[in-house]
């Protein structure tokens, strides 16, 4: 007979499902702008919150552009200029390619357990799945979103919906998953929509085409040299 699990336990399972030492993700971002939508395909190597390397694969204008994030420093390389440019950390807060996500949002893969206290505040159905609704409150200081609310699939321990809040409690961003799939025995969102709630617009869609967990990522990937490779 299963007892009602604790919030921490659930969060742990979520991190187990999705968390890993590193990830290699091939994804597409569909950005809805005022002048129509565009699709950008990229491949990213992410290690925790501190190391991230991305390469853009399409469309042709973006192809070959690479970005490296090491802690709070950001570098970019574009083949058209053959330049490695250091972008100040301030840029991390700017939106990627005009989407609703910032560089931070895209290039960090935090373990929620490390950052948040959790509390179960209810149960709801989402996407035809029964979910626990957890409220997460920041454990420490250095955090981007002070509070989050996540809807966790009771069976699969994948987060299907997430709300991110400001310190004041104001809702800032939402993520809604549209489809999930199984990879390496884990449940991953295949399609999700990010939305910056404060502004008008249709938000940004994210399609994960493939995800590898705990792959063997050589160290040199997270160096400036690999930008020029």
């Amino acid at each position: 007979m299963a007892q009602t699990p604790t919030a921490d336990w659930i969060l742990n399972k979520v991190d187990e499902n999705f968390g890993s030492d590193n990830k290699i993700i091939v994804s597409e971002m569909v950005i809805h702008g005022r002048r129509g939508s565009r699709t950008i395909k990229s491949k990213s190597w992410i290690q925790g919150r501190d190391k991230s390397f991305s390469e853009y694969l399409s469309p042709p204008r973006e192809q070959g552009t690479k970005m490296l994030k090491l802690e709070d420093q950001l570098w970019t390389y574009t083949p058209s200029t053959d330049r490695t440019i250091r972008i100040s950390g301030h840029m991390l807060r700017q939106s990627v390619m005009g989407s609703d996500l910032s560089y931070e949002d895209m290039m960090e893969d935090p373990k929620l357990q490390n950052l948040y206290h959790a509390q179960i505040i209810g149960e709801e159905e989402f996407l035809d799945r029964l979910c626990w609704v957890l409220e997460l409150t920041s454990k420490g200081e250095e955090i981007t979103y002070y509070r989050r609310k996540i809807w966790v699939d009771k069976e699969r321990y994948v987060s299907l919906k997430e709300n991110r809040y400001a310190k004041s409690g104001k809702l800032l961003k939402t993520t809604e998953v549209l489809e999930v799939f199984k990879a390496e025995n884990r449940w991953i969102p295949r399609k999700a929509v990010f939305k910056d709630v404060l502004k008008k617009g249709k938000g940004t869609e994210w399609h994960i085409l493939s995800m590898e967990f705990n792959a063997d990522i050589p160290d040199h990937v997270f160096t400036k040299a690999s930008l020029r490779r």
């Binding site: 702008g33 002048r35 565009r38 574009t78 330049r83 490695t84 440019i85 250091r86 972008i87 100040s88």
Partner: protein
């Protein structure tokens, strides 16, 4: 009788030359000052027009609403088509497409990594077309501090202070990081071929000028522009015309419900210039009245002089039997002629000088640091329709007035006294 008077004027130089010269000089001065004032006031408008508003400006409706943020995602596309139509429909205007943008300028070291970097405000204009009006509009040639002007694609100018701050010299590479029209990151390499001075602190801190085709490519704005500035081809703001063509343009091009249709606004409508110009008028008017007034008095004196010298002659004529009235009228007629021809010559000379001052101008460069893009160091006059006539007001009026008043003394004098003054 006119012939007689003419002969008289011509033959007795001492009688007519002096007043004539005075009229010429006075009228000339009046014209020059008038045109000068016109020129100086239009200078104020010029800086704003050249840099920002044009005489008319075309942007999309959406862009106009958020113009401060240089929202290139709201720029319009179809530039070539639009320019063709503009040049066909409004041939006496000069059209200059522009893109304003912002971003970072990054200077590489030998490894191609960041040596120095700074935020930059960008202005993309057509500097490479041989017949581009932008060279004059932006006073490019005179504002170069170091290096030279761009001659081919990929070359840019940056503000001199900015160049010093980034420690970049003409000939070195700089990379622009900005965003494309669609929000993607845009990067492009340029060669800094020269530095300029803008004359405005915000721009001198960090600004660049690039060719519009380069920026269209870099920001993925093919065949696009953020704004098109239109100038009348003599570069003097045509109040009525600008409004007219705006209305014609808007009625033709504007589509409801499409925030991306181009919309044209005249200089007036872009901010409070209209009111400012209205204010200027009385001030200018006041100055001119003073001036013309002074002129009038000078010429009156001249008129007096003329009459005084001729008391002898007047005496003789009266003695011969010419009626006082007739004499008086002939004097007036003479002064009218002097006034008219003097004004004519004076206006011609005055306009010639004003024209010189308009085209060549007066270079105050020695008193200021350097020529700047925004405020030319050359002060210019401006010839307006009014300047053709304005000389005649003091020229004619004053001379005639002077003569008529001094002529009155004719009625008072006794013939005998006049004879005495004949110096026999």
């Amino acid at each position: 009788m006119i012939k007689f008077l003419f002969k008289g004027l011509f033959r007795d130089r001492s009688r007519s030359l002096f007043p004539f010269l005075v009229v010429v000089a006075g009228v000339m001065l009046t014209i020059i000052v008038y045109c000068w004032i016109m020129g100086v006031t239009s200078d104020m408008i010029r800086a704003a027009a050249n840099f920002d508003t044009g005489h008319v400006k075309i942007t999309t409706q959406a862009y106009a609403e958020e113009a401060d943020q240089k929202p290139n995602d709201l720029a319009f596309l179809g530039l070539d088509e639009l320019l063709k139509e503009l040049r066909k429909d409004f041939p006496d205007f000069v059209w200059a497409p522009r893109i304003k943008f912002g971003g970072l300028l990054d200077i590489p070291d030998e490894q191609g990594e960041t040596r120095s970097q700074g935020p930059v405000i960008g202005l993309a204009v057509d500097i490479l077309s041989p017949s581009s009006p932008e060279w004059d509009i932006l006073n490019l040639e005179k504002s170069v501090v170091r290096g030279r002007l761009p001659k081919k694609q990929g070359e840019i100018l940056i503000s001199d202070d900015f160049a010093r701050q980034l420690n970049v010299k003409p000939g070195e590479t700089a990379t622009l990081i900005s965003s494309t029209m669609y929000g993607s990151m845009a990067t492009a390499n340029f060669v800094v071929v020269g530095t300029v001075r803008f004359g405005m602190m915000a721009m001198d801190r960090g600004a660049m000028i690039a060719d519009i085709t380069d920026i269209q490519f870099a920001l993925d704005m093919a065949d696009g522009a953020g704004e098109i500035l239109g100038f009348s081809d003599d570069f003097i703001y045509p109040e009525v015309k600008a409004e007219e063509i705006s209305q014609v343009f808007n009625s033709r091009f504007q589509k409801k419900d499409d925030e991306f249709t181009p919309v044209m606004k005249s200089l007036y409508k872009q901010g409070g210039l209209a009111e400012f110009l209205t204010l200027l008028e009385p001030i200018v008017g006041g100055i001119l009245v003073v001036f013309v007034g002074i002129m009038a008095i000078v010429l009156w004196n001249a008129g007096l002089m003329g009459s005084l010298r001729r008391y002898g002659e007047i005496g003789v004529r009266l003695a011969i039997g010419e009626s006082k009235g007739h004499l008086y009228r002939s004097l007036i007629a003479e002064s009218l002629m002097i006034g008219f021809f003097g004004s004519l010559l004076g206006t011609a000379l005055g306009l010639a000088c004003a024209y010189f001052l308009q085209t060549v101008g007066f270079d105050v460069g020695s008193m200021m640091r350097n020529a700047t893009l925004l405020m030319s160091n050359v002060m210019r006059a401006r010839i307006t329709p009014g300047s053709f006539v304005i000389g005649f007001v003091p020229g004619l009026l004053a001379t005639v007035l002077g003569t008529s008043i001094s002529g009155i003394s004719i009625y008072k004098r006794q013939t005998s006294q006049l004879m005495k003054e004949l110096e026999v």
